[in-house]
């Protein structure tokens, strides 16, 4: 970004430098949260932001830490602006770093506008409830945890679990029934390994999605502080494409755990009172301010759908990162190490997974009339089977009654036939529902009490011609 023309004022004496903070003599006219440059004695320039201003002092947070800052030779220069992203339709197909600068060797974007990377809250009264079903071709998602346009649905994973492959499959397969529409992908790599980032980029290239993609890449070796701005830049680009260019935008943010770690680091350098496990008390609001940028708006064509990926430290879903995320997002797709060990791909734990927007997106004219009933009955049957599996580990499966044995087998079959599928297998939602019906046919018919009788007569294999 080039702001040199915007430099307006220059502050003087720096009285203290510690961690990532500089305390400078009050800078007249500086704005709260304004971006600044710190010119070091050796000529190097660091960026920073004013996080506390008063008549007595200005506290500047220095991105990348205060190393090499000296109190005499360094100068603070204000940019007169909060952090902004230059945008135009030409951002499509481009790759940027965590400060929004192109890193693909291409030229600078000639901006149509500069957008504040924090965005503005959507007026909740002017939102349009998300209701368009996105068919991902994955049964465990489409059948039981359906994704809709404008939703924010994260993947909770663990290290070594195949979240990247699943997301790549979703990107490859996702379609919305109906008319041809303009859609775009925004991809933000946040502190992930170079290999993981290039896995995604290669995948996008192979499916031809690259030219419709805007990528923001901050790998593990890039500055930690830029992990804070990377997802915000991505969302700003997404909003521009959705609300100004009328596109349907899918935003992939990976790995949000790295974002949260960076936030914690920043907070401890600011010497703030930590909340649970050292994460700042405002992490909920901070994450919500980003995730709430998903949605649809009344009277506007486009949409922003967000799919963040995060790895649960220690596979612990009660850890503050997944916990706060779950409180914000509209559900979560949770991956299970247990299923992975059994060789189930995709290893989606359907009990812990949830899509809160599902009911809006399914049903007659959207997916199929029996979808909601099939969804509920599948859960009930699988839950019963898993409970019996747990009991039978102690008492042995032989000790179960006949009915219970049926449920036990059904749970195994459910994992083998319904949840499991090929990485390149794209199932229609009808296929998905029909697999569920096939599994129902092994259960006593009078147990299908969560399904309307007319649907049983219509879809249960034995009644079908």
């Amino acid at each position: 970004m080039d702001f040199s023309s915007l430099y307006v004022k220059e502050g003087r004496a720096i009285s203290k430098a510690k961690g990532s903070l500089l305390i400078a003599e009050s800078i007249p006219g500086i704005k709260f949260n304004e971006m600044v440059d710190i010119q070091l004695g050796n000529g190097e320039v660091k960026s920073g932001q004013a996080i506390d201003i008063s008549e007595e002092a200005a506290i500047i947070e220095v991105f990348g830490g205060v190393s090499e800052v000296d109190l005499i030779g360094s100068k603070i220069r204000c940019k007169g602006e909060t952090l902004k992203l230059p945008v135009s339709i030409d951002i499509s197909g481009r790759i940027f770093n965590g400060m929004g600068e192109p890193i693909d060797g291409g030229s600078r974007v000639i901006p149509e506008d500069y957008l504040d990377i924090n965005g503005e809250p959507i007026n909740p009264a002017l939102r349009q409830p998300p209701a368009e079903f996105i068919e991902t071709g994955i049964s465990a998602i489409d059948g039981l945890n359906a994704l809709v346009r404008g939703q924010k649905l994260p993947i909770f994973s663990g290290s070594g679990l195949p979240h990247n492959r699943i997301v790549a499959q979703i990107i490859r397969q996702a379609t919305v029934k109906g008319k041809e529409e303009r859609f775009a992908l925004v991809f933000a790599a946040i502190g992930i390994s170079y290999d993981d980032a290039s896995f995604f980029m290669r995948n996008l290239e192979r499916t031809g999605a690259l030219e419709r993609t805007v990528a923001f890449i901050n790998t593990a070796s890039d500055p930690v502080i830029e992990r804070i701005s990377t997802p915000k830049l991505a969302l700003t680009a997404a909003e521009y494409l959705a609300w100004k260019q009328n596109m349907h935008v899918l935003v992939i943010l990976t790995d949000m755990t790295n974002y949260c770690e960076a936030l914690r680091e920043l907070s401890s350098m600011r010497e703030e009172i930590p909340s649970r496990r050292g994460y700042p008390g405002y992490m909920y609001t901070d994450l919500a301010t980003m995730y709430e940028r998903a949605g649809r708006i009344l009277g506007k064509e486009g949409s922003v759908t967000i799919m963040p990926i995060l790895t649960m430290p220690d596979d612990d879903i009660t850890h503050p990162i997944p916990d706060l995320t779950g409180y914000i997002t509209e559900g979560q797709i949770v991956l299970s190490r247990n299923l992975e060990r059994k060789g189930v791909y995709p290893p989606i734990d359907v009990f812990l997974s949830l899509s809160r927007m599902m009911k809006e997106g399914i049903g007659p004219s959207k997916t199929r009339e029996d979808h909601n009933n099939v969804f509920m009955q599948s859960y009930a049957a699988y839950a019963e089977g898993c409970y019996l599996r747990e009991i039978s580990t102690i008492i042995g499966a032989e000790a179960l009654g006949e009915r219970d044995k049926i449920y036990l087998t059904n749970a195994d079959e459910f994992e083998r036939k319904f949840i499991s599928q090929g990485e390149w297998e794209k199932r229609t939602v009808e296929d998905t529902l029909d697999i569920a019906w096939e599994l129902f046919s092994t259960l006593p018919e009078e147990d299908l009490k969560l399904i309307k009788e007319e649907f049983i007569k219509k879809y249960l294999p034995k009644y079908r011609k």
């Binding site: 009050s26 007249p28 006219g29 500086i30 704005k31 709260f32 949260n33 996080i51 506390d52 201003i53 008063s54 008549e55 909060t82 924090n118 965005g119 503005e120 809250p121 959507i122 007026n123 909740p124 009264a125 002017l126 939102r127 349009q128 409830p129 009172i273 909340s275 649970r276 008390g281 909920y284 609001t285 919500a288 301010t289 709430e292 998903a294 949605g295 708006i297 009277g299 506007k300 009660t318 850890h319 409180y327 509209e330 559900g331 949830l354 909601n372 509920m376 859960y379 009930a380 839950a383 009991i391 039978s392 102690i394 008492i395 000790a399 179960l400 009654g401 219970d404 009078e446 009490k449």
Partner: protein, 583 residues
């Protein structure tokens, strides 16, 4: 007029503020951001900004308004959608488009709309505070009763019938040689409870249409309840269901630091759904506050008080009001955020030590009262608040402080929610202290309620005890009687307690139907016990068509239920008795 001295997030310190008072509303900077003074030190005022402070500069103006943070009260509230500071979100949308810009203003009550005012008192009548002087038909469901504001009394000098805006005078009250002009609108400081004549214990059932509440853990009019639960356990859906179906005059839905899509879902559904008893669109008995998680944090603190103030105002007209707040945890976090900035001594998990008293200053405004003024009338405010404990661990401070205040607990259970048992209210840990308060109501309606309720809860309790044995020896090794108990418990759980909010019929269950449903299951249990005693096997009971018929009771519409259940009972008498005869 003062000027900005320091800005640090939502904390603003202004200098030259002599003469200000604590809790005074101020306008900060050129854009006039709304703030509230929370402390004074010499000439400096410590201000919490209710809007984003990004871009403010030291030295910008700070203007005192002389007002305490107040709510506008008058015709036009019902059906409105407000932010945490009672700005009309639809007006904001019309003025500035779909994104909320700071400093944008929008009054709570429409200024141009004319309301039809019909006086209820005459010239010469003596009136004083709380007296109803006239009415405005606000919606098809709500008659807005215009009351003499607090602190005013005298004789009516003039009163006008006709169509007026909220700012035009309609009544003149003379007291000595002073004449007060009244309009249809008044204001009230949101942090101050509105007074009443006398307070009563909560009583009478607040019908919710949710079986596990109405029948098992009833909420009384004027009561206070809490719904804690981990994410995805059903807090929001439960509160939405309450706001939809509660048989009150008016409901206030406060979305505090939660999701925007959820809010728009609620708003849309209330434009389409009808009240089951009156058939009138739900939005005609609802006020919404939508202060979503991405909107300024400090305004969350205000939103809850704005909500309860509007509730008290309608209570004072003689109505029963329900306030639901989703989520009080986000509200407490806003308090923590501000307290941290003020460098106050942190209490448990960083929450300020006054968090508990602030929570009770909200919940304590629930209650059933005799209202001020004439004619004599009673009104009530019932409150239900969601709590979002980190990691679903109820030992955390917000849950614990809330438990000290409330009298009905609906504890949501992650493992039930994972299995999609909804509402995921845990029947073993939830409680209601209003059982006595609603006894008369139920007994008039459904004699035997207490017994049926108690015996069903006992079955569930016994099931939980047996569960431990089942895990050791398996379900088949139990004696027949225990197997029957487990079957019955399962029927209570699945065919009675489980209730989908999305089922076209079952979303709202009339108390009469709820009672008959549970009685049917308990009757089945009794008959089946007799069968066992006379030698029938548990398998023949399990496979009885009655089990299936009972599992389909939910599908039967409320109105048809009494008739259909009678048929079911007589079939049950026959088939189970027949079953008894066949060894």
């Amino acid at each position: 007029m003062g000027k900005i001295w320091r800005v640090s997030g939502p904390l603003v310190i202004a200098d030259d503020m002599k003469g200000s008072q604590v809790y005074e509303v101020v306008e900060i900077g050129e854009e006039g951001l709304v703030g509230e003074i929370v402390g004074l030190e010499g000439n400096k005022a410590i201000i919490q900004a209710h809007e984003d402070t990004l871009g403010l500069k030291v030295g910008e103006v700070v203007r005192g308004t002389g007002r305490i943070l107040s709510a506008e009260l008058g015709p036009g509230l019902v059906g409105s959608i407000y932010d945490g500071l009672q700005k009309s979100l639809l007006t904001l949308g019309e003025n500035i488009g779909p994104f909320i810009k700071r400093g944008a203003k929008a009054s709570a009550l429409p200024r141009d709309k004319k309301w039809q005012f019909t006086p209820k008192v005459k010239v010469g009548d003596a009136v004083s505070q709380g007296d109803i002087i006239g009415v405005v038909p606000e919606t098809n469901l709500i008659e807005h009763r215009i009351m003499v504001p607090l602190g005013i009394k005298g004789t009516i000098k003039e009163i006008r019938q006709g169509d007026y805006t909220v700012e035009e005078p309609v009544t003149w009250i003379e007291n000595g040689n002073e004449v007060k002009e009244l309009t249809l609108m008044q204001e009230w400081p949101v942090r101050k409870p509105r007074p009443y004549k006398q307070r009563f214990d909560p009583s009478g059932l607040l019908t919710t249409g949710m079986r596990i509440l109405d029948y098992m853990f009833p909420l009384a009019l004027g009561g206070k309840a809490s719904i804690p639960g981990g994410f995805g356990t059903g807090k929001t859906v439960a509160l939405q269901q309450l706001a939809r179906w509660a048989q009150t005059h008016l409901n206030i839905y406060v979305g505090c630091g939660e999701r925007g899509n959820e809010m728009s879902d609620v708003l849309t559904s209330f434009r389409e759904l009808k009240d089951p008893n009156t058939g009138i669109l739900l939005q005609e008995k609802e006020i919404f506050i939508a202060n979503t998680s991405n909107m300024p944090v400090v305004a969350r603190e205000a939103s809850i008080f704005v909500g309860i103030t509007m509730a008290e105002y309608f209570r004072d007209m003689g109505y029963d009001i329900l306030v639901v707040a989703d989520s009080t945890s986000r509200w407490a976090e806003a308090m923590r955020e501000m307290s941290g900035r003020l460098e106050e001594m942190p209490g448990e998990e960083g929450f300020p030590s006054y968090m508990g008293s602030r929570l009770s200053s909200f919940y304590e405004r629930a209650g059933m009262v005799e209202c001020l003024g004439n004619p004599e009338r009673k009104g009530s405010v019932t409150v239900a608040g969601a709590v979002s404990p980190p990691g679903a661990d109820f030992s955390e401070p917000v849950t614990q402080n809330t438990l000290r205040i409330i009298d009905a607990l609906y504890a949501l259970d992650v493992s039930l929610a994972n299995k999609r048992h909804f509402p995921s209210i845990n029947w073993l840990t939830s409680y209601s202290l209003y059982v006595d308060a609603v006894k008369d109501w139920w007994n008039e309606y459904d004699p035997g309620w207490e017994d049926t309720r108690a015996s069903a809860l006992r079955v569930l309790q016994q099931e939980a005890e047996l569960e431990e044995i089942v895990r050791l020896v398996g379900p088949e090794a139990l004696p027949e009687g225990d197997k029957l108990l487990l079957l019955t418990a399962r029927m209570i759980r699945e065919d009675f307690l489980q209730q989908s909010a999305y089922h076209e019929v079952d979303t709202y269950c009339m108390p009469a139907k709820a009672g008959l449903m549970l009685k049917t299951i308990m009757k089945f249990y009794e008959l089946a016990q007799e069968m066992l005693n006379s030698g029938a096997g548990i398998e023949s009971i399990r496979s009885s068509p009655m089990v299936y018929r009972i599992s389909r009771m939910k599908d039967i519409p409320n109105e048809a239920f009494e008739q259909r259940v009678k048929e079911l009972w007589s079939e049950m008498d026959q088939s189970l008795v027949t079953g008894k005869r066949v060894p």
